[in-house]
Amino acid sequence: MTLIDLANPTRFLALTARVLPWLAAATIILLTIGLYQSAFAPDDYQQGATVKIMFIHVPNAWLSMFVWGVMSVASLGTLVWRHPLADVAAKSAAPIGAAFTFLALVTGSLWGRPMWGTYWEWDARLTSVLILFLMYLGLMALWRAVEDPSRAARAAAVLTLVGAINLPIIKFSVDWWNTLHQPASVMRMGGSTLDKSFLIPLLVMAIAFTLLFVTLHLAAMRNEILRRRVRSLQMMQASRVAFSSEVGTGSREESASKEAGAA
């Protein structure tokens, strides 16, 4: 099955029906392994047991940017290739991305209070992630505000691509500015600075959360396709009702004029 085959929503629905149970099972297995490893990971010599918060904070922080990246590629698909599923993919990813960004902010705050002595600091990393969260909410509002899905898709695609400028700002904010947030310790030149006892549970949790995103995204895309079918069928139903009432009114007017003529 090629990408072009998947442009057909009916084929896409058939694929999701086959793939979703396997994806859900793989997500549950990996999440279970990741949570077990996180629970029994050793305490950090500085952070103590609060290092366990990192095992959910970091995957959510990665996904907050990854999901916007997926939406940006989908937006290119909408604007350049007019792929029928591109807009569906972008629209259904937004609430999931917003949820991951919310979790990154909340778990980061809950880690910051005992480690930094504050829940929040207006430093470059925290502020740029908050802006990302607000952009997710803005996009979701835009999709709800415009009734015609194709018009909403184009506007949302432009906004998504403009918002993608924020991704390198988030990534490099800790290098460009003097921030309270620590610099990258996993994806950095020269390799990870984390010990294996922390790195392995972190990577397992990251893969598990990524699988969770893929599963939820495919399921949400399936729902969006069905929602659009409902909308088009309801419009068809409404036009039939309007047509039949017009025909009814027309025949009544016709008979009324005949009656007037006879009189």
Partner: protein
């Protein structure tokens, strides 16, 4: 497994993550049920797709 003096922060983090993930899963499942129900209702009232297939059909 001892969570130390900051146990409440760790537990709250994991509980929040679990709640948000549960909400996401619930939203996807309820939305799917709602859309399939609406499609079946339309199908029953005789509104079908231009292809002639039922809206809930798969190839």
């Amino acid at each position: 497994m001892s969570l130390g003096p900051y146990a409440s922060f760790i537990v709250t983090s994991y509980a929040t993550a679990a709640a948000v993930v549960a909400i996401l899963i619930g939203w996807v499942m309820i939305d799917y049920r709602n859309q399939t129900l609406r499609l079946r209702e339309l199908d029953r009232s005789g509104i079908t797709r231009r292809s002639g297939r039922s809206a809930t059909d798969r190839p």
